[in-house]
C-alpha cells in the first residue's frame, strides 16, 4: 500500500514535476517503511536559514535516483557548533553527504543589507571573516567525516545599495560579493571532495522576481521563491548521482523532428529544416549542445524509424549538419520498435539502460519507453524547437565532477569496440583473436597523478565490481598513503587503441593475509582477459610481500551478478556465504593464478603516466 503511494507519487513527478508533487512524494516517503530494496542515502544539512522548504525537492530527487532519503537537519544557525564537535549528532548520523547552506543576510547582515555603513577596510574584514569561518567549518568536518561537502556561494545583491553607481567600482556591493565568491572557491579547492553549489548562477538564471520571495523571508526566514526551491533542490541532487555511481552515460537520439525539422523520408535532403536560418538554426543549436556533451564524454547513439540509407545520407552529405557519423558510437536506424532497439544498444555498448537518456519528439515513443523501460530517462522534445537546447541541458543528466582524458576520447573507444567485435566475427577462436589484438596490460601502484581517475572508476563502475565500494579522492589517497594497503590500477592497450586506465584493485594487508577490498574493471575492457591478468599480478604482489593467503569478497548489488562466481572461477575456496554475499580464500603457497598467454604485462612507474595526459 505505502509502496504504491511512493510509486504513484514518483510517476506524478515524471509527468508534472511541480512543487506540490514533490510535497506529495515527500509525505509518501515519510509514511513508507524504508524499503530494503532501496539503499538509504543520508544527507546532513547544516544551515543558517530556513532550508525546510527545499527538503521535499531534495528528498524527491534522491528517491528518483534510486535511494531512500534520510535527512539530518541541523539547528538554525548552528553550523559551526555541529561541525566542530566530534560528538555532535551530525557525526553519529554518519552522513553520506553534508550540505553547508549559508545565506549572506544571516552570515553578515551588514554586508548584505547595510553596505553603505561599512568602510572599505570593514568590507575586506567581513569578506575575510566569512571565508575564514567557512574554511574552519570544512576543516572541522574533515576531522570527523570523509563525506563530500557541498557549500554554496552567494547570489549577487538583488537590491544594489548604490543603485547605478554600484557597477562603477570594484569596491562596491555587487563586486564585493563576486570577490567573496572567488575567494571562497579558491579556499574550497584545497579540500578533497568539497564542492561549490553555485547559488549565484542559479539565482541569476532564475531572475530575482522568481528566485526570492520576501514574504517568506520576513514570515519564516525562508528566502527562496517557489521556482528557486525547485531549482536549488534539483541542483543539490545533481551532485549525488555522479558521486554515487549513478551518472547517465549515453544519449540516444531520434532523427526526424529532433535533430532536424521535418521527415527526411518525405521532405528529402533539401526539404528538411536545418541551417543558419530559423527554424533550422534551432536544430543546429541543439546539435551543438549535443556535440558539447559528446566532448564531455557522453556516448551518442541514434535510434530512428527511417530507411537507414536516408538518415546516413543526411549524416554524411547534408552541409548544415553539425553532428556527423563519427560522433555516434552506435546506430539503430530501422523500423523495429524503440524498446527493442534501446535494449540492443545497451547490449552492444555494454552500458546499463539506467545510464541512458532517450530523446524523441513523439509522445507515443516517449510514453512507450517510459512504460516499458522505466530506468531510461526520457526527454520529449516537441514544439518550440528554439527551447530544445536548453531543455536538453537543464536537467544535468550527464553532470560529472571530473573531466579526464578518458572522457574526451570515449566515443572513439566505443567505436573501436564495435570494430573489435567485427574482428571477432571474422577470426576463428577467441584466444586466436585475442592474440591478434596485441594486448598489453600496464599495471602500476597508484600515486597522486591517477587518484582522480581511480576514484572516478570506483564511483562509476557497476557491473564488473566485486564489492562496489565507492571512494572519494580523499579515501583513495588514504589507501595510497597507508603502509598496510596498496592501490593497483591497470591500463589496457591493443593495436587498435589505448583504452586508458580501466581497472582498480585495492589490497589491504593483515599479517599473513591480503584482502581484496576492491576489484573492478570498466565494462568496455571486459572479455579480453585483463581481469585475469590483473588478479594474477595482485596475487603475485601479495605473495612477494610475504602473504600466505589472499581473501576476496563478493557483495551482491542489482548490477554485479556477472562476477558472483569470479573467485570460484579463479581457484578460490568459499569460506563464508551469507544472503548472497560470499567470502573466498586462495592459499598463495599452493600456486598463483595464471595470466592469459595473449596478454603482455608491463609494470609501470607512476611518473610515466598522468591521468590527464
Amino acid at each position: 500500500m505505502n509502496r504504491d503511494l511512493v510509486s504513484s507519487a514518483l510517476a506524478r513527478i515524471e509527468t508534472q514535476p511541480d512543487y506540490t508533487a514533490y510535497q506529495a512524494l515527500a509525505n509518501a516517503l515519510e509514511q513508507a517503511n524504508p524499503d530494503a530494496r532501496t539503499p538509504p542515502l543520508r544527507v546532513a544539512v547544516l544551515r543558517n536559514f530556513t532550508f525546510e522548504p527545499v527538503l521535499p525537492v531534495l528528498q524527491g530527487e534522491i528517491a528518483r535516483a534510486g535511494f531512500y532519503p534520510e535527512i539530518y537537519l541541523g539547528d538554525f544557525d548552528a553550523i559551526a557548533a555541529d561541525a566542530l564537535d566530534g560528538g555532535s549528532p551530525l557525526y553519529s548520523f554518519r552522513p553520506d553527504f553534508i550540505i553547508v547552506a549559508q545565506w549572506l543576510e544571516t552570515l553578515s547582515p551588514a554586508l548584505a543589507t547595510r553596505f553603505t555603513s561599512l568602510s572599505a577596510a570593514d568590507v575586506e574584514r567581513e569578506v575575510d571573516r566569512i571565508v575564514a569561518a567557512t574554511v574552519e567549518i570544512i576543516t572541522g568536518i574533515r576531522r570527523h567525516s570523509l563525506a563530500p561537502v557541498l557549500v554554496n556561494n552567494f547570489p549577487l545583491p538583488f537590491r544594489r545599495t548604490l543603485g547605478i553607481l554600484d557597477a562603477q567600482s570594484a569596491n562596491y556591493h555587487t563586486h564585493t560579493v563576486l570577490r567573496l565568491n572567488a575567494a571562497l572557491l579558491e579556499q574550497l579547492q584545497a579540500f578533497r571532495d568539497a564542492y561549490v553549489v553555485d547559488y549565484m548562477s542559479l539565482m541569476a538564471s532564475l531572475g530575482t522576481a522568481a528566485g526570492f520571495d520576501e514574504r517568506y523571508w520576513h514570515m519564516a526566514g525562508a528566502p527562496l521563491g517557489r521556482a528557486a526551491l525547485l531549482a536549488f533542490g534539483q541542483e543539490y541532487a545533481k551532485f549525488i548521482r555522479p558521486l554515487r555511481g549513478k551518472s547517465r552515460k549515453c544519449l540516444v537520439l531520434d532523427c526526424d523532428n529532433t535533430l532536424w525539422g521535418g521527415v527526411i523520408g518525405e521532405d528529402g535532403m533539401s526539404g528538411i529544416r536545418l541551417g543558419a536560418e530559423f527554424p533550422g538554426s534551432c536544430y543546429q543549436a541543439l546539435q551543438r549542445e549535443i556535440l558539447n556533451l559528446h566532448d564531455r564524454g557522453v556516448i551518442l547513439a541514434l535510434c530512428s524509424k527511417n530507411n537507414e540509407a536516408d538518415a546516413i545520407e543526411v549524416l554524411r552529405q547534408h552541409p548544415e549538419m553539425i553532428l556527423r557519423e563519427q560522433h555516434f558510437a552506435a546506430m539503430r536506424i530501422n523500423w523495429q520498435d524503440k524498446v527493442t532497439n534501446l535494449t540492443s544498444l545497451a547490449e552492444e555498448l555494454n552500458v546499463g539502460l539506467d545510464a541512458f537518456v532517450f530523446v524523441d519528439d513523439s509522445q507515443f515513443e516517449c510514453d512507450f519507453v517510459r512504460e516499458r523501460l522505466p530506468q531510461v530517462a526520457v526527454l520529449q522534445l516537441s514544439s518550440a524547437p528554439a527551447t530544445f537546447a536548453a531543455r536538453l541541458s537543464a536537467p544535468g543528466y550527464f553532470d560529472s565532477l571530473s573531466f579526464s582524458a578518458e572522457d574526451r576520447n570515449r566515443t572513439p573507444m566505443y567505436r573501436d569496440e564495435s570494430e573489435r567485435r567485427e574482428l571477432l566475427r571474422s577470426a576463428g577462436s577467441l584466444p586466436e583473436y585475442l592474440r591478434g589484438l596485441g594486448l598489453v596490460a600496464e599495471i602500476g601502484i597508484a600515486g597522486e597523478s591517477v587518484i582522480a581517475r581511480v576514484s572516478q572508476l570506483t564511483q562509476k563502475t557497476n557491473q564488473f565490481n566485486l564489492t562496489t565500494r565507492r571512494y572519494g579522492g580523499g579515501q583513495i589517497r588514504a589507501f595510497v598513503a597507508a603502509t598496510a594497503a596498496d592501490v593497483f590500477y591497470v591500463r589496457l592497450r591493443d593495436r587498435l587503441s589505448d583504452l586508458g586506465i580501466i581497472g582498480v584493485g585495492i589490497l589491504v594487508f593483515r599479517g599473513a593475509d591480503a584482502e581484496i577490498d576492491t576489484f573492478l574493471l570498466s565494462c568496455r575492457a571486459l572479455g579480453r582477459g585483463a581481469e585475469d591478468a590483473f588478479l594474477a599480478h595482485m596475487a603475485a604482489a601479495a605473495h612477494a610481500r610475504g602473504c600466505r593467503r589472499l581473501v576476496g569478497r563478493y557483495l551482491p548489488t542489482s548490477k554485479n551478478a556477472q562476477v558472483a562466481d569470479f573467485y570460484s572461477r579463479h581457484g578460490f575456496t568459499a569460506i563464508e556465504k551469507n544472503e548472497g554475499a560470499s567470502a573466498w580464500e586462495l592459499m598463495l603457497d599452493a600456486g598463483l593464478p595464471e595470466c592469459p598467454d595473449w596478454m603482455e604485462i608491463r609494470l609501470v612507474q607512476e611518473e610515466a603516466h598522468s591521468a590527464g595526459q
Binding site: 512543487y19 506540490t20 508533487a21 509525505n27 521535499p56 514574504r215 514570515m219 519564516a220 517557489r226 526551491l229
Partner: protein, 81 residues
C-alpha cells in the same frame, strides 16, 4: 478560473500527507496534527502554484482552516463548482 473542490482537497492531501476524502469544512490548524508553521508555508506555496495566484501578506497568515482557504481563493477569482 473554474476549479473543483476536489482539486483543493488534493492540495491539502499533498501538503499534509492525508487522504483527500478526509478533508472537509472542519479541517483546520487545530484538527490537523502536522499543520505547523513550516507546513503552513508549504501550504501557501502549493496553493499559489496549483491555483496560479499570489496571496497578499495578510491572506498568507489568515488561512487557518479549509473554509478560509476557499474564501481567499475566491477573492482571487477562483470559482468553485
Amino acid at each position: 478560473m473554474q476549479a473543483s473542490e476536489n482539486k483543493l482537497k488534493q492540495v491539502f492531501a499533498d501538503v499534509f500527507g492525508m487522504e483527500a476524502a478526509s478533508v472537509n469544512e472542519s479541517t483546520s490548524v487545530d484538527t490537523v496534527k502536522k499543520w505547523d508553521s513550516l507546513k503552513h508555508l508549504k501550504l501557501v506555496l502549493a496553493l499559489e502554484e496549483q491555483f496560479g495566484v499570489t496571496l497578499t501578506e495578510e491572506q498568507t497568515v489568515e488561512i487557518l482552516n479549509y473554509p478560509l482557504v476557499k474564501a481567499v481563493l475566491e477573492e482571487h477569482g477562483v470559482l468553485f463548482q
